[in-house]
Symmetry: C2
Subunit: 422 residues, 2 copies
Amino acid sequence: MPDNSIYTNGRGYLLPKIPIVVICYDGFDPSYLADAAIRRISPRVSDMAENGFYASAHSAMPSFTNPNNVSIVCGAPPRVHGISGNYWYDRATGKEVMMTDAGPLSAPTILAGLSQAGVKVAAVTAKDKLRKALAVGLAGEGLQGIAFSAEKASACTVAEHGISGEEAQAGQPVPDQYSPELSLFVLDAGLRLLRTGRAQVLYLSLSDFVQHAHAPGAPESDAFIRSVDRRVGALLDEGATVGIVADHGMTDLSLADGSPNILYLGDRLDARYGAGQTRVICPITDPFVRHHGALGGFVRVHILGDLDHDEVRDFVSRLPGVELALPREEMCRRFDQPMEREGDVAVIAGKGVALGTHKGAHALGELAGARLRSHGSVAERDVPFLVSQPLNATYRRKAATEQLHNYDIFDFVLNGTRSEGN
Amino acid sequence: MPDNSIYTNGRGYLLPKIPIVVICYDGFDPSYLADAAIRRISPRVSDMAENGFYASAHSAMPSFTNPNNVSIVCGAPPRVHGISGNYWYDRATGKEVMMTDAGPLSAPTILAGLSQAGVKVAAVTAKDKLRKALAVGLAGEGLQGIAFSAEKASACTVAEHGISGEEAQAGQPVPDQYSPELSLFVLDAGLRLLRTGRAQVLYLSLSDFVQHAHAPGAPESDAFIRSVDRRVGALLDEGATVGIVADHGMTDLSLADGSPNILYLGDRLDARYGAGQTRVICPITDPFVRHHGALGGFVRVHILGDLDHDEVRDFVSRLPGVELALPREEMCRRFDQPMEREGDVAVIAGKGVALGTHKGAHALGELAGARLRSHGSVAERDVPFLVSQPLNATYRRKAATEQLHNYDIFDFVLNGTRSEGN
């Protein structure tokens, strides 16, 4: 590669000449973007669509937060980097663990590559779990970049985060983890890093707290969208090229009376095969249960007993509410998953249906009577893909002929906005 | 072909040895089926899934009623039979017409084939427009089959419908076209035809009036699902093999306050290119506007002026709310559409977004304050596919390895439930 570029996971990325900001607008379903454009409540983002580039892209599957954030910063799907859910059943130990705690990513990140090539890079996330995964090769001992979370901003150290707690927090109160302000803190921190010249490439990853709780057009989501828009505008006004994608969409999984439409797969499997024969893992599980009670549109079934795998797959696939039940190999082939972390049967819900383990095992009380809105299935795979600058001819052609993924965003922002022959 | 089978549109169908009923459960989104199974409000249909066969299938695109009903009875997608919407802009005449009024289908139906092979066949539809399309080669002068609609049951004649008005109506009141009873009339009529030996193969096509108006779990949709279930049970109790598919799913296209999330594409195009340069056709348009105000997730753009087609496609594709904007050839290739009826640009909405022509041009008042629930896009492409009998090994394999479509249902019911080597 020429020395004005890096090469990461099979793709080349030009080093930026102007500041670059990529925002992961967590849970920003295309229906929010459409409504915001129609009612003009997000003028700067709408302007990006109108005068830069907009398309509907696919997220990585399953349509969850961690797999998609990691895919975006790697420019590659879960098959390459190994993070195929938030939560994982490790067959070797029989334990359920957060995937981001299961060791380093099996692929380098674009952020690390750029930083090691001398570009000033910063990643700011809403939640600290995700920050740890994104910081590999970027921030920490002997590294030059910055990586911190809004959640733990005050506890930052230069040694671990590349920035002091004082500078990361900048006198702002650290917001509650269940608040719109958590995302706004991320954007404000990014803006400060940009203005002070501390970063030339920024990855800013928000929280979907608002989208889990509020449909498009609700006063709460309107207010949040306006607040994000003002900050996107400020980043643009600093001269940055901005790319925005979502990690996944969001669907209302409730019935007419507001109760959730849940298929408890663990109960069904136990009734059919006996308790302890199978284990259902909900890879949406994370420490932030109030968002969704660990209920989403994708689960993995691990077969522990001596059961015929095809028979189990066939049984699951015939349950109304299941859109697809795939054997491990087929799931990995069709949806670019890593084999070693796939279930024996991967289960994708139909649109509008949540998959759970056992009645009573999910913290539904945490929803406090709100409608269940969640993600994980193919119905939440479509996500907005926005670039603030028009694309060059090569990337316009690419966009018109290939299926875009959210993890193409760094490619489009770094390479697709450069004049050709550059 | 052996004389115990017919050959239609490239596939062979075994003549049935026992009665066969295929139901098009109009607008029966998988989320209704899942909820009905979970709460056991549709025991006979749930039992079909458990002890027969269930899978999530694709409908034909666009996910509208007429293209899918015709696809189901042809066993083939719109490319083969030419019905790619309810409504169509005929470039040659400059007129907008109902596709089912535009002349006969360009493909024969399985119903006609079976009837001409001596099988007693009847098609009963909710609406009369659709009946006309399905009756070709089946009922009318010199033909042996029966085809009538609930809407016009009392006006039937033996010459045109293969049944008298008196027999078709059977003393039942003809239901209002905006009522759940319209669909129930169809099922009751089918049951009578089966019991009296008037038909051995039945195609029963319902109305989605209830699903447009009521989400899963609403008392109105619960009551409708229970009423349909009892009739499905009665058909099963008569010894029929029953297949059930939907023509399309259903999605809530409303904002938090209940107002519809509509992108008026005609207004956008006029603002950009001037009035009269383009025409937006909503192929969901039918005489039953109260269902949906002619608003759905798919429209066709015809370019009348001297505009660059790629530029228009590019402009449309960059509007938030648009998932895909495809040139005619690409739409036809990817979604099996007939070229002569495709727009210059085919536009598929994002999940949760309705595409309209001009503000004020849609009969929103007809919704009477109800939330807009509609279909047409990829988000409503997934539909239930149910067979009351277990499949033979060949069709089990087929189901596990191929993408099923609702228009495979006659193949599965007629061929897939027969013992192998039959």
